[in-house]
């Protein structure tokens, strides 16, 4: 009945079907506009409905704007709603015409029906036209004071919308403080919740420029406010509860009794019908107990049942989201769930992404007592109609075997898979048998007997073929026909498309040759010849390498190609534990579903409203942006190693001239000098290796680079720091996220300091001597990044510092966070004086 959907991107009149109707509608609307005849509302309603339906299916009806506004003078609420909807949709593209609507919307904002007041206010704020903001302030102000909570609720959201259109107007009208007052005093919880979400957004956006806003934002996670919300939590609607719970995760309780109070208060939220509330509560529990190992364990036990119920009760979409979270927890603490393995059995008509998660969980929870049953279950999936899942389940069986439970029985099952005569089952099983043999060489006898019966012609997948070839090479002394099977594979060299298989074939031929030379020699020759002629670079290189090493010395070749092997004890995990921890920190977010921490997929600007900038996790991943120097440095170093000392002197002198003329003072080249100096001093005096400020200072002076006078050493303030401070990284991370930035400043680093900073370690030692300890560092010249912490003497008050030093600009960006805000200035002075001494002492 409706024309096909069209993208709204092209409002050009490219839709002949819609065009004539639109002009028709225009005419009819114009006729009705002035009419006061009875029943006119009904015909208007029909027309409006048509307009909206066109709008909905994507036909551009913005040309009717004028007529629609003319017709909007009505008392019919449905007509009004349709009109609001229309106006809201097109005001942005017709800012001039939107002015026309302001009048009737403002009038409606004073209507006696609270519903109409609210709706009009909502529409007014949804126009989002920048030059109309002046008309918003008045209605919003009275809306916030309205006697009806519905209008107040709408007005609060309106303030946030206004903020997004024009932040300055919103701040100038002092709306945030009105919202704050409402948040603390309004009787309606929905108004409170809306205030909370609006203020969170406004203050986070303002925090970077206004100290007051950042203080206010901190006040949101202060004890009195959090308790105010927690005590009323049951009055909030379920969605607002989620909001409150999210805020509570940011709160750091002062002691363990407080933690228990909060958990007791929230315990019944775990039985809420809304899954979002349950997950938000679980997150609070997990976060609160992070540092209390045994309680944390109990929390796992406690949340297990609600999570499992959520999985089985909701719609497939909900259970997937819950299952992803469960997956995360199972991976962290498999033993807690080991008795619930039956919940992870796959149902026949579950979508495969759910089955995949369940298979991983089954693998994780396997232990001595349940392995038999789990493996039995997994083996049933191997005959599954869904081939990818059948493959996954075979892989899962293999993984369980690698966990060392009940290996004996599992090997039998894997060998049964090999006899199932289904190509994909055979392929997966071969890969697994290979991995098993690498870990448990003692099973080789049983396995080889079965593998030997597999015809290589039935194995087509490269991975499986490579595995088979590897086994043929590795165990050629036990397999009667190994040389001949390999030989036939070599004969078909040209038909083998996978380079991986050809590489393995070369190696297997070599191994076979060492074990059974007479039978293999000719085939090896053929393989090497084919390999050397191969177009693939790696295959070619390996063949050539084998050929040459064989010519050089056969016994050396054997030592290289086929040394005695150690059984593999642990296979490397694909995902680093650091990433897993980070995902865990972002429990109840999309990260869990994507199995990636949010910094890997969201843009910074789009992160949540209370997300504090923390790049702690990024450090290890490396921040080598705009990093040109290292390569240059390596070159220089190479050169240095080849030159004699006198030559070095010369090059230094000449280059010094060059750089001195072109750039008066160039930090990056200084760091190169410094590295030279270091090498020099390391050569002359190995005990001084690492850092030699004296030498670098002397050279800097010698080169006459015009060092600016070292900044006057600041007198150390009264603050005393604990020399033996200790802080574990997870606490640091947690604190860093929760504390506000107390101070943020730029400190210039003395040239001596820059010169000494060739590697992060140099600065670490220096700062440690000033009782400032490093918790993480990284980066390469010219950008270094450090996270320091310090503790007040005889008090447990911590200072956390993020320090980014750019050696080419000789500047350090310092951000300080402190438990005790009052002393952060003192600490900052102390930090600055410590940093300024770097390289001079």
């Amino acid at each position: 009945m409706a024309p096909p959907a069209q993208s709204q991107r092209s409002p050009s009149p490219s839709q002949p079907s819609g065009k004539s109707e639109v002009s028709d509608l225009k005419l009819q609307l114009r006729q009705l506009a002035g009419s006061r005849a009875p029943g006119v509302d009904d015909s208007k309603r029909e027309l409006f409905k048509k307009v909206i339906s066109y709008m909905t299916i994507g036909i551009d009806v913005s040309s009717l704007f004028g007529e629609m506004v003319m017709c909007s003078a009505t008392s019919d609420i449905v007509l009004k709603k349709m009109c609001y909807l229309y106006v809201g949709n097109y005001a942005k593209v017709n800012p001039d015409l939107a002015l026309l609507t302001i009048n009737f919307l403002q009038r409606d904002c004073r209507d006696e029906d609270p519903m109409i007041r609210g709706l009009a206010l909502r529409s007014l704020c949804s126009l989002r036209v920048a030059n109309l903001v002046e008309y918003l302030v008045g209605p919003l102000g009275s809306g916030l004071k309205d006697s009806n909570s519905y209008v107040r609720m709408v007005a609060v959201m309106g303030v946030l919308k206004l903020y997004h259109i024009s932040a300055s107007t919103c701040i100038d009208a002092d709306f945030p403080s009105i919202l704050k007052h409402l948040m603390l005093h309004d009787s309606d919880t929905q108004v409170v919740a809306n205030c909370l979400s609006a203020l969170q957004e406004i203050w986070s956006a303002e925090a970077s420029t206004s100290e007051e806003a950042s203080r206010e934002r901190e006040a949101l996670i202060s004890k009195p406010f959090i308790y105010y919300l927690l005590n009323r939590i049951k009055e909030f609607c379920e969605w607002a509860q989620c909001l409150v719970l999210e805020l509570v995760t940011k709160y750091v309780p002062s002691d363990s009794s407080e933690i228990f109070d909060i958990m007791n208060l929230l315990e019944d939220r775990l039985q809420h019908a809304n899954g979002a509330v349950v997950l938000a509560t679980i997150r609070v529990f997990l976060q609160l107990t992070l540092s209390m190992t045994d309680v944390h364990q109990q929390v796992y036990e406690r949340i297990k049942a609600p999570l499992l119920t959520l999985v089985s009760s909701g719609s497939p979409e909900q259970s997937y989201a819950v299952l992803s979270h469960l997956h995360l927890l199972v991976m962290r603490a498999p033993y807690v769930f080991s008795s619930d393995y039956k919940h992870f059995y796959c149902q026949y008509n579950e979508p495969s992404y759910v089955k995949r998660l369940k298979l991983e969980m089954l693998t994780a929870v396997a232990n001595e007592s349940n392995t038999y049953e789990i493996v039995t279950e997994l083996c049933e999936y191997a005959a599954n109609v869904d081939i990818p899942i059948a493959r996954e389940s075979i892989r899962a069986v293999g993984k369980i075997a690698l966990q060392q439970y009940d290996v004996n029985a599992i090997v039998d099952r894997l060998l049964q898979f090999l006899e199932m005569e289904k190509d994909y089952v055979t392929a997966e099983a071969l890969v697994l048998v290979k991995d098993l043999l690498r870990k448990y060489p003692q099973w080789s006898h049983d396995c080889i007997a079965v593998v030997g019966n597999i015809s290589s012609k039935n194995v087509q997948e490269p991975k499986a073929k490579a595995a088979l070839i590897w086994m043929l090479g590795e165990y050629s002394q036990d397999m009667q026909d190994a040389p001949y099977v390999l030989e036939s594979l070599v004969e078909n060299w040209d038909e083998e498309h996978s380079a991986e298989v050809r590489l393995h074939l070369l190696t297997a031929m070599m191994k076979c040759f060492f074990k059974r030379p007479p039978e293999t020699q000719s085939a090896l020759g053929a393989a090497l010849a084919a390999g050397i002629a191969d177009f693939h670079q790696d295959v070619h290189d390996r063949a050539l390498f084998y050929y040459r090493i064989l010519r050089y010395n056969v016994s050396v070749a054997e030592r290289v190609v086929n040394p005695p092997k150690q059984a593999v004890s642990v296979f490397a995990d694909t995902q680093s534990s650091e990433i897993k921890d980070r995902i865990f920190d972002e429990f109840n977010s999309l990260s869990v579903l994507y199995q990636k921490p949010s910094y890997m997929f969201t843009d910074k600007e789009h992160r949540g409203p209370l997300e504090f900038a923390d790049e702690l996790g990024n450090l290890s991943i490396g921040e080598a942006a705009n990093n040109v120097v290292p390569t240059q440095m390596v070159e220089e170093n190479d050169k240095d190693l080849l030159l004699t000392t006198s030559e070095k002197e010369e090059t230094k002198g000449s280059r010094n001239n060059g750089s001195a003329y072109s750039v008066p003072y160039d930090g990056s080249s200084t760091s190169v000098f410094a590295s030279q100096t270091q090498i020099e001093s390391a050569v002359s005096n190995p005990t001084l290796a690492g850092h030699s400020p004296q030498a670098s200072f002397a050279i800097d002076d010698l080169l006459g680079l015009g060092i600016p006078a070292a900044p006057a050493v600041l007198s150390p303030p009264q603050l005393k720091l604990n020399t033996k401070a200790a802080l574990d990284p997870s606490t640091f991370q947690q604190k860093w996220r929760q504390l506000p930035v107390a101070l943020s400043q730029e400190i210039s680093v003395s040239p001596q300091g820059v010169a000494a900073l060739t590697a992060p370690q140099a600065l670490l030692r220096h700062m440690q001597s000033h009782s400032i300890h490093c918790i993480a560092s990284g980066g390469q010249s010219p950008n270094f990044k450090f996270f320091f912490f310090a503790q007040k003497f005889e008090e447990s008050s911590n200072y956390l510092v993020e320090c980014v030093i750019n050696t080419s600009s000789a500047k350090a960006q310092v951000k300080i966070k402190a438990d005790d805000q009052n002393t952060s200035q003192d600490f900052s002075t102390l930090f600055e004086s410590a940093l300024s001494k770097f390289g001079t002492s």
């Binding site: 991107r9 309606d188 039985q271 119920t309 979409e317 149902q347 869990v592 994507y594």
Partner: protein, 415 residues
């Protein structure tokens, strides 16, 4: 927070678009989404949360309608999914079912509802009870009323009283001539029986559904005879937590109308009411099938609507299957469905026949899974029993009704 909601028809057509924030989401995202769905084969296989190049998308599919929400910020995924589920529940409640036509006919109401359910991307009221007071459902009664009274607006003049009350789920003080309350126990049995006929897993997921038409502010207490068998429970927000904690009693002020009071889970049940014994033997390119179905454990009431369904493996060329009771159909997508109904007294229903395999195949390697359906009226198979339902300050005329029902959930028999 959510930035936009789309409703798509089963052909991918955008039926409705609701922008929620200032960041306008272009409709082209739907084209991307639909291409993605098609590339996945069918919507069932597509994940509920996907990342498009520009947005993160939540999707919930109900009755062929796709509810699609877009966001660019990190947010609790269940909030998005739960909200969409609620939207679909409320809409089907309002429109008396969901399909393309009913949405297109009532899109103004859908807009109105969405307007009240979410503001600036943050969910507000999703209780159908409250919404019904703000926006009248498009039913026949209101149409008649509007003709009679001449008031054509479908919006009530008053604001819902509950928005200001401290019981957000209950509308202010309804009045009924007949006070009635019905309590239904509805259970679903999930079971897996493995190749050797052993019961691998058997558990019940149950709900207590209440339909209440009570005047004033009724305070109800519901107790079970054997609450200790419950493994885990979840409650409607109206249930008070303390009485349950201390003596497993449900004390609550109910919302008006139908609602789900509680859901529960009972694991490790020992037996199933039915047995299903499949036998497949194959050789020389043929597979003989024989399936027997019978009563294992008589629940005391009749078991009806018994069905058996299985997917024929893809390597089967043709199937010739017959039964001694009920009807056997082979559907287009190679699903064989056997409708048994009730088990006759005089014989055991059986399905038998042969499957012809593809030419190169000797034996069958992929075995079908049989999905069983049944329904038992009058019994909660978990054994949960309602003890009594009390009403504080009982009105003069009060009618209380109790029912129970068990049906098969994911009941699977592997062969």
């Amino acid at each position: 927070m959510l930035q936009c909601i789309f409703l798509l028809s089963d052909s991918g057509e955008v039926m409705l678009e609701k922008q929620l924030t200032g960041h306008r989401v272009d409709r082209s995202i739907c084209d991307w989404f639909w291409d993605h769905v098609i590339s996945q084969g069918d919507s069932f296989k597509s994940q509920p949360v996907i990342a498009s190049p520009t947005h993160y998308l939540f999707q919930v599919v109900r009755e062929g309608i796709t509810f699609l929400a877009c966001t660019q910020v990190e947010m609790p995924p269940l909030m998005g999914i739960e909200f969409l589920c609620r939207v679909s529940d409320v809409l089907s409640d309002y429109l008396g079912g969901l399909n393309e036509d009913v949405i297109k006919d009532n899109f103004v109401i859908v807009y109105e509802l969405l307007d009240e359910m979410i503001d600036n991307g943050f969910p507000l009221t999703t209780e159908a009870n409250i919404l019904r007071e703000m926006i009248a459902p498009p039913n026949i009664v209101s149409k008649v009323l509007s003709v009679v009274t001449g008031n054509s607006s479908n919006v009530s003049d008053t604001l819902p009283g509950a928005t200001g009350s401290c019981i957000p789920w209950r509308a202010a003080e309804p009045k009924y001539a007949n006070n009635e309350v019905y309590v239904d126990l509805v259970e679903e049995m999930d079971a897996v029986i493995n190749r050797d006929g052993a019961l691998v897993k058997c558990e019940v997921y149950g709900e207590v559904q209440v339909n209440s038409h009570l005047s004033g502010l009724p305070d109800l207490t519901l107790s079970f005879a054997n609450p200790s068998i419950l493994d885990d429970v979840r409650f409607h927000p109206c249930v008070r937590f303390r009485p349950w904690e201390s003596h497993q009693v449900l004390s609550f002020v109910p919302p008006d109308g139908e609602f789900k009071l509680m859901s529960y889970r009972i694991k490790k049940l020992k037996s199933t009411p039915l047995y299903v014994k499949p036998q497949l033997t194959s050789d020389a390119g043929k597979c003989r099938v024989n399936v027997l179905v019978g009563i294992r454990n008589d629940p005391g009431k009749t078991i009806d609507s018994i069905t058996l369904e299985f997917q024929l493996p893809p390597c089967i060329l043709s199937a010739d299957l017959n039964s001694n009771h009920g009807t056997v159909n082979i559907l287009g997508n190679k699903i064989c469905s056997w409708t048994i109904g009730r088990i006759p007294k005089d014989k055991t229903p059986s399905l038998s026949g042969t499957l012809l395999l593809e030419t190169e195949l000797e034996r069958l390697h992929v075995f079908p899974t049989f999905r069983v359906g049944f329904r038992i009226m009058g019994v909660a198979l978990s054994g949960l029993q309602i003890d009594k339902l009390d009403l504080k300050t009982a009105p003069s005329r009060l009618y209380k009704g109790f029912r129970a029902l068990t049906r098969a959930g994911e009941f699977e028999v592997r062969s």
